[in-house]
Symmetry: C2
Subunit: 454 residues, 2 copies
Amino acid sequence: MDESVQNEYFELLKFKSVGADPACFRDCVDCASWLKRWLGKLGFEGELLYPDAPAQDASAPRMPPPILFAERKGDEGTPTILVYGHYDVQPADPIDEWKTPPFEPTVIDGRVYCRGAQDDKGQFFAFLCGVRDFLAKDGAKPTIKVVLEGQEESGSEALESMALSLRRKLAADVLLVCDTSAASGMRPAIIAGLRGVSHFTVRLKGPNRDLHSGEYGGLAPNAAQAIAELVATLHHRDGSIAVAGFKDGVEPPDHDELRAAEVSTPSKEELESDIGCEPVGGQIGKTLVQRVSFEPTIEVNGIHSGYGGPGAKTVIPCEALAKISMRLVPGQTPRSAFEAVRRHLEDNVPRGMKLSVEDYTPGAAGFRLPLASPLFRLAENVLSEMDGRGPVFVWDGASIPVVSAIREASGAAPLIVGWGQAEDRIHSPNESYSFVQFDKARDWALRIVSAIVG
Amino acid sequence: MDESVQNEYFELLKFKSVGADPACFRDCVDCASWLKRWLGKLGFEGELLYPDAPAQDASAPRMPPPILFAERKGDEGTPTILVYGHYDVQPADPIDEWKTPPFEPTVIDGRVYCRGAQDDKGQFFAFLCGVRDFLAKDGAKPTIKVVLEGQEESGSEALESMALSLRRKLAADVLLVCDTSAASGMRPAIIAGLRGVSHFTVRLKGPNRDLHSGEYGGLAPNAAQAIAELVATLHHRDGSIAVAGFKDGVEPPDHDELRAAEVSTPSKEELESDIGCEPVGGQIGKTLVQRVSFEPTIEVNGIHSGYGGPGAKTVIPCEALAKISMRLVPGQTPRSAFEAVRRHLEDNVPRGMKLSVEDYTPGAAGFRLPLASPLFRLAENVLSEMDGRGPVFVWDGASIPVVSAIREASGAAPLIVGWGQAEDRIHSPNESYSFVQFDKARDWALRIVSAIVG
């Protein structure tokens, strides 16, 4: 990678653009402004968009990070290309598990270590560098639109709420997204489906204060024990989900989808050496590919109550919370899944506790794309030129909540190809992205845009 | 209360003597040194004691707060009185729930608000002020020994390990302890029994890092879900303890004990207005007095895993911990109860998790004292002079782990009378102690020491 590109990349990474954290709002605005200027140099007209009144309700009491929309008019009769990415990143904690400062890009053995080095700053920026390479060439230029949001890691609420009102701006023929992984061994992967995601917070309140566990032990209900018992009711002992109605309407994969998905799913051994323990999540009796690609999940992202410090504090905690996210598959709507879980929680409130379910963020439903589309054929050819093995089709367990919203608003056909690898450790301490991956993403952008223009 | 006493009391309260927190070690030493000087003015010879090598093993890797031992030789032929108290206090968190600074004594409506205002700085200091009043009088003076430790809130490990080697120092006829509550309405209460206490930390480790809940959801085991499911196995749905062998050998109370205990146990209504929720802890079908005085408990003091901050972090947590304490009754030993729980935890380790049980602190067994002892008669008379209603006998659900150890080492008969009330909120934010309570404790000390000397 030439030095000037690396300098730009590192400048972008240094912004602490944690979209979920109100304390980082300023960093998000600065990051979006930096990108607007960067695109401006390529002839894009950019603007920072903020949601209007309707989005400012109880579910979004604070100003969300801005959405950068930029457009570069192209020649008559060329298709319109829409590029989506997100400049927000996951929080850096647990900070003390980082070997290098989380917002200080550090190169070790050809990898850049930094929060956002891959997800998604590294991937979309590499892609935009490829677009710049394309624009530097002779030949017809399509109209290119870029939408970069700052809330993807926390539900994309603003962009989703605005998507329909932005119909005219977003209208395009193809939607290009670089925010996913290649198959193991960097074999190219085309996303044929994504799971949806929703999240919320569960809070239990019991006594009016933390209580002495001797004076009140046996008398007062314990919020820490209660949250444990409540959370434990969400799954059966075999790992299957115990929430009535949660899986109603789920559309199972057909035979072609299951077979194609097997190709790109890592083996039990690969997984075990990656995560450092047996891959025993999900339901006993289902295959790995079923569990990660075609089954929904209810995941406890955090549980907190009472004392956790050094020594002991022998209290009966009065309050507890659990942060919960769900991965959704076609046939489930975020609302129907959430209502099923809420009903379950309300039906299982432990004795003496008051339940509240807070901060529900609908996110988006999951979707699957038709395997036999012209766009998929075009992408298959380009990717076969880049890699003799040709691409695999992936039904990714992860989510890009807004893609379905943008897809609907823009009318564009999504083409989702990214160059992540498991060792990038996105969402974890010591996230990284290699120069090799960066250059692949850049080359892919140059080639696919060229191919689309024809 | 005269101003000079209040100033001394407030000086004592300002020491951040959180014995469980290594960061507060210096404050503990300063606090003990202050008390040594204070007793010195009354003619006590004092010394700060630290455990010797044997206690410095893996279970106590750091230097514990010092034990203050002070002795004032008395006249020939008088009984020897041993006074026990603890100058350490519970941690102040959750800090932000304090209406006044936790280590800044603040007087509101005749109550002193401060961590330790009651438990136990306020109670033992009021008692020592009564001892000073006694010493100021004419007449025979007994030998008085004072032992004040700095680890009561976290298991009294140092003093317990040293008790036997301190036999000669501690040898006494009567052991006076002011670290408990009066019955509701400040009716005097003599402790006829205490529950024991032990505590430990449970840790689960699964994946080698926090994982992306989309990429790995359905594949990787979740430590937050696992700790919830593990903790939930400790109790049956009716609130009874589900740990095999935990209650083996428990000695049920006899009829006199049960009847006497009923007198001092608050009603369901009193409890509910005190704690702000239904008193539905413990086992359904047992009475309040059974549950708090004669039944053991397994209490979750804290549970922590994964993300708990603003917004969302959709991770699969890789690690989780639960801090657990047990209240024990006669017939259980700390070791037998702990081994039963450990076996239970090992038998129920969730799939994909590694279990470790850490920081086990044996604390002490529970005990019950004979109702018809001469010392109890003497105390009954004194307390009947102080309050026409006379004393009640209480089998306190709380613990003073070292009392049994000191009792054994000193050969003294324990007389445990304190002046706490539920509204003091010990162990909770906004702990307080009223001047009325302080003066009662001070008067009690003057009267009972006089009566013992006869």
